[in-house]
Amino acid sequence: MNIRRAKVEDLAGMQASNLQNLPENYSMRFWIYHLMSWPQLSYVAEDHKGRIVGYVLSRIEEPDEDNPEKDIHGHVNSISVLRQYRRLGIAKKLMLLSQEAMESVYGAAYVSLHVRRSNKAAIGLYKDTLGFEVAKVEKKYYGDGEDALSMRLYFDPEESHAQQ
């Protein structure tokens, strides 16, 4: 599958994939907002006919009034791959490209994300393939009451130890 940076033309396909794959959905304005704010961070995979079969939607979180000490970091909002295209390494590649951009464009210190505690496939991807670690468990984070693992990956491995 062809893997490249997300364009405006991909938004509808990204939204449609998300609706098919995940229970957390967003209206178009939210998708547009991410691409308009951080146009370098989101990536897609497309099939030979140009249909979107996977995407990662990411953002940057900056220190703000509530958390002035917080490091600037990337956050993966949503990632999924259509079932017929899974296990091809697509999600892994999407993640790596997005992470590279977070670090090089914004100087992000780490990338964070939330994942359902029961989502074995995704946890396998983050932990085993990409090297994320669990930062904390957020009880009943999801609409249906399931817990979320809040996971992190520091781009500088030393940093990772310092934070443990």
């Binding site: 940076r5 098919q20 209206s27 178009m28 308009m36 030979h48 079932r83 464009v105």
Partner: protein, 892 residues
């Protein structure tokens, strides 16, 4: 310049300071306090227009809309020269998405306070939304003049010129802007983005050398932070400059992201090679890809692209290890990955693949059960893709027997059954797959979709509901809220199959609504992106929005809705029938009650919240009220044709003015339906133009043939026949003959369409000639079945005897006429069934029987009566035999 302030606007000093408070309270949305303050002023000065307007605005924000808007209007009348009054009025109109009127109000406001930055900014956003770029440039100039120290105002002016097509001026503005810049901090993303914008302008102007220089200097200074963009611009610019370094630039991109096909294309083209196997030098290209593949082993793209390029023995030697490794690993997506290698005209590759698979199955069946299973799975997809569904099912049954718990097998079996027209069986399979992995929303969505394909709307809703928000009024309401086109369109189609035209229409129009909301979505970004300096992506957003109605979902919904409006126009009785309250089944009654309860609960929750928080800002958008929840009003509305015209017009505009990606089949349908609508609205020239466009696309298309017959028949019987007008069943005014100024031009244009004069060849003969010429093999790329249906419809228009029409249509499924070559699809067969029904033909059942012969596995032509369908229906939601707990996750 200051105007004298009218006496009635001047407030006593205490009230004047209260008024200032009111404005700032409103700005910070402290609505309750703002309201109190307004009342305080009004106690003393009850006729103060600006205060009354502000009070109205505050009330509107608080959700007391009608009252609020009344006050705004009252305040306006009291002070028509106040910029505040006009501004408030403009805000209200903008909230209603009435951008046109809002801009007028803002323009008025600016008359009385021409340098008001707030108003200028809003006006600029409205001008962008409405694409009035000349005026936008003026506004941006004014803003820049007032606040030249703001970086974004310079960029905004450049963008205004850019949007207006004046790139040269945009470039000048950017240059001036950059000269004013001082002390840019390091690692400034905003600066980086604005430089990239500047380079894009240079590239679009064709000034490649300057663009490249700017890129290289900025990259060296680390002013541009976006590495992907640097590399991509570089490769593109060097290519356009035909510089030898282009090759290295593309190679660098491949290292950067070795799975982007575009980069390989760029790299190969530098060596005069291409990614197509038709290219004579494909061997060299192949070698290059193999080198790259060894250099970057983690990359999938060069291996996969090599398969596209290779032919003959080279292909065999590459595909074998590729497939074997994937099958051994158990990668379920292998077929999705490879299917683009299949070709109807050159079956070499699929034959090689089939040989490999069959050898795999013969050889080591016992050796590795997992490989065996995935091989069967692949083979089934292979056969079905090539049209051999029976074989596919055979293979699938072997695989399912081997491993009954793999959802992918059941999912695919469902797909094959769907392709055979066994919609109920397909839904049942998907449901079984879903029960094997209840946590996967993908399987859930597919099950719902298949249930809708089978027309089981309520059952689908129950399935969707497992993943939608529990506090939504219904699963469908949540999916619609979340803008799921898949759901909306599939449910619309389901209602259509079930002949509930009102509900179908309602859903098609829901698609249109979502697309309209996408169009509104851009509004906030006219300001936002300029503040963020993300200009390039913003300009792409503007283009995307300009073409938003070319989205395939819009095209499909608009065409489907227009068809319903046309059908109802031609036969209003079907609207009455569809709109008559249908008898609900027990299940439907229950579901309806439940939905009603949920809706009223949601409403209660909302009310409770409202009371809790009177300070809550409800915004300025009017709440959406739906006074036609089941689409009956829509379906029976006398302005159906106008609505259809409104749906189609943006499409014909896009087709004639923009480069949009709409498939040929849809283009044809757009023009044909535009004709249908226009001719019924007596828009003769529009009707004619539509046919001319259709003719350029494909002059032998059966749908076009039908319209040509219709047009000539219409001219003869209606336009040129004054006595026909009183018999017009719709009672709409029916002019006798074309209006004088259009008449001759129209008739001349009609001649150009090339239908022989009726004095030489009658329309009946013309129709028969088309049938003969195109039935087989058709030079129009249409199937025989399509040609036959078009000719039968033409015969009906021309008033041919019933038995002749019947004979023609029944011929399609007669034992001798059956064959894949006839291209009868299930959809077309259903349409013929409807035609026969409409003709009150006695041979409808005979036709269905024929269909059952052609589509052996299909359930849509009544497999032995209602009873069997009922049993199947219930089976859809039965628990499968291999019951695995829905929460037990099976990883594939």
């Amino acid at each position: 310049m200051s105007r004298p302030v009218p006496a009635k606007r001047t407030l006593p000093s205490k009230e004047a300071s209260l008024f200032k408070d009111l404005l700032s309270l409103y700005e910070s949305r402290q609505l309750k306090k703002a309201l109190k303050t307004a009342d305080q002023i009004l106690k003393k000065c009850p006729e103060h227009g600006e205060t009354i307007c502000m009070k109205g605005l505050v009330l509107t924000h608080m959700g007391r809309r009608d009252e609020g808007i009344d006050l705004v209007k009252q305040g306006m009348r009291l002070d028509l020269t106040s910029h505040i009054c006009w501004h408030v009025f403009g805000l209200i109109q903008k909230g209603e998405k009435n951008y046109d009127e809002a801009l007028k109000s803002y323009t008025q406001a600016l008359k009385f306070d021409k340098d008001n930055l707030n108003i200028l900014r809003d006006a600029a956003h409205l001008q962008t939304q409405l694409r009035v770029f000349d005026a936008l440039i003026d506004t941006r100039h004014t803003i820049l003049r007032l606040r030249p120290n703001f970086r974004q105002h310079w960029i905004a002016l450049a963008v205004a010129y850019h949007l207006n097509g004046n790139l040269l001026e945009a470039k000048k503005v950017l240059e001036t802007y950059e000269r004013t810049l001082k002390n840019i901090p390091d690692y400034d993303v905003e600066h980086s983005e604005s430089l990239l914008y500047h380079i894009r302008v240079l590239e679009d102007l064709g000034e490649f050398k300057d663009a490249l220089d700017k890129l290289d200097t900025s990259a060296k200074e680390r002013s541009i932070l976006d590495r992907t963009a640097i590399l991509e611009y570089r490769a593109r610019l060097l290519t356009k400059l035909q510089a030898p370094e282009a090759e290295f630039a593309w190679r660098a991109l491949i290292d950067h992201n070795p799975d982007c096909y575009e980069y390989y294309r760029g790299y190969l083209s530098q060596k005069n090679l291409s990614l197509s196997s038709a290219n004579p030098s494909s061997e060299e290209a192949l070698e290059l890809l193999q080198t790259l593949s060894t250099q970057i082993p983690r990359a999938a793209a060069p291996k996969r692209l090599a398969l596209t390029l290779a032919t003959g023995p080279a292909f065999s030697s590459l595909i074998k290890p590729y497939m074997t490794s994937a099958l051994q690993k158990g990668i379920p997506s292998l077929f999705s990955d490879l299917k683009s290698l299949y070709s109807p005209t050159n079956p070499e590759k699929q034959n090689t693949i089939q040989t490999i698979l069959e050898a795999e199955l013969d050889g080591e069946e016992a050796a590795d059960p997992s490989t065996y299973l995935w091989t069967l799975y692949y083979l089934a997809q292979h056969h079905s893709y090539l049209g051999d569904h029976v074989k596919a099912l055979e293979v699938l049954d072997r695989a399912i027997e081997h491993t009954p718990t793999l959802p992918d097998l059941l999912m695919f079996k469902g797909r094959v059954l769907k392709r055979c027209g066994d919609y109920l069986g397909a839904a049942r399979m998907l449901n079984e797959a879903r029960l094997l992995d209840g946590q996967d929303r993908f399987l859930n969505t597919k099950t719902g979709k298949y249930l809708l394909r089978a027309g089981l709307v309520e059952e689908a809703s129950g399935i969707f509901g497992l993943f939608t928000k529990k506090d939504a009024a219904s699963p469908g309401a949540d999916l619609e809220d979340m803008q799921s086109f898949l759901y909306i369109l599939e449910e619309a189609n389901a209602h259509r199959i079930n002949n509930k035209l009102n509900l179908a229409l309602k859903k098609y129009m829901a698609v249109v609504k979502v697309i309209e909301s996408f169009e509104d979505d851009q509004y906030d970004f006219h300001g936002y992106n300029l503040r963020k300096f993300t200009v390039n992506i913003y300009l792409n957003l503007i283009t995307w929005e300009d073409h938003i109605r070319a989205q395939p979902v819009y095209v499909r919904a608009a065409l489907a809705a227009a068809k319903i409006f046309l059908e109802v126009h031609d036969d209003p009785s079907i609207a009455q029938a569809a709109a008559a309250v249908p008898e609900l089944t027990e299940a439907e009654k229950k579901a309806k009650k439940k939905a009603k309860k949920a809706a009223s609960k949601a409403e209660d929750n909302k009310k409770a919240q409202q009371q809790q928080n009177a300070n809550e800002d409800k915004g300025l958008e009017p709440p959406t009220k739906d006074d036609d929840p089941d689409g009956t009003k829509l379906l029976t509305s006398p302005s159906g044709l106008e609505t259809a015209a409104k749906l189609l017009r943006p499409l014909t505009n896009l087709l004639t003015t923009a480069k949009v990606d709409i498939a040929e089949k849809e283009r044809m349908e757009i023009w044909l339906l535009s004709y249908d609508v226009a001719i019924r609205r007596r828009k003769l020239l529009q009707a004619l133009t539509s046919l001319t466009h259709a003719q350029t696309l494909n002059s032998a298309h059966p749908g076009l043939h039908l319209r040509l017959v219709h047009l000539h028949h219409f001219i003869r019987t209606t336009l040129l026949n004054p006595s026909s007008s009183p018999s017009n069943p719709n009672g709409s005014p029916n002019p006798t003959g074309p209006p004088a100024p259009i008449g001759p031009a129209f008739l001349e244009g009609v001649k150009q369409l090339g239908v022989p004069d009726e004095s030489q060849v009658s329309l009946e003969t013309y129709n028969q000639q088309y049938l003969q010429k195109h039935a087989y093999p058709s030079p129009s790329d249409a199937s025989k079945a399509e040609v036959v249906v078009a000719c039968a419809k033409a015969m009906i228009i021309l008033g041919a005897p019933l038995h002749e029409v019947e004979n023609l249509l029944l011929g399609i499924v007669s034992t001798s006429g059956v064959g894949d070559g006839d291209g009868l699809t299930i959809g077309l067969a259903l349409e013929i069934g409807e035609m026969l029904k409409g003709l009150a033909s006695g041979r409808e059942e005979e036709f269905r029987e024929g269909c059952r012969r052609v589509f052996v596995r299909s359930t849509v032509f009544g497999v032995g009566g209602e009873e069997e369908v009922r049993v199947l229906r219930e089976g859809v939601l039965r628990d499968p035999d291999v019951a695995v707990g829905a929460d037990e996750v099976l990883s594939v």
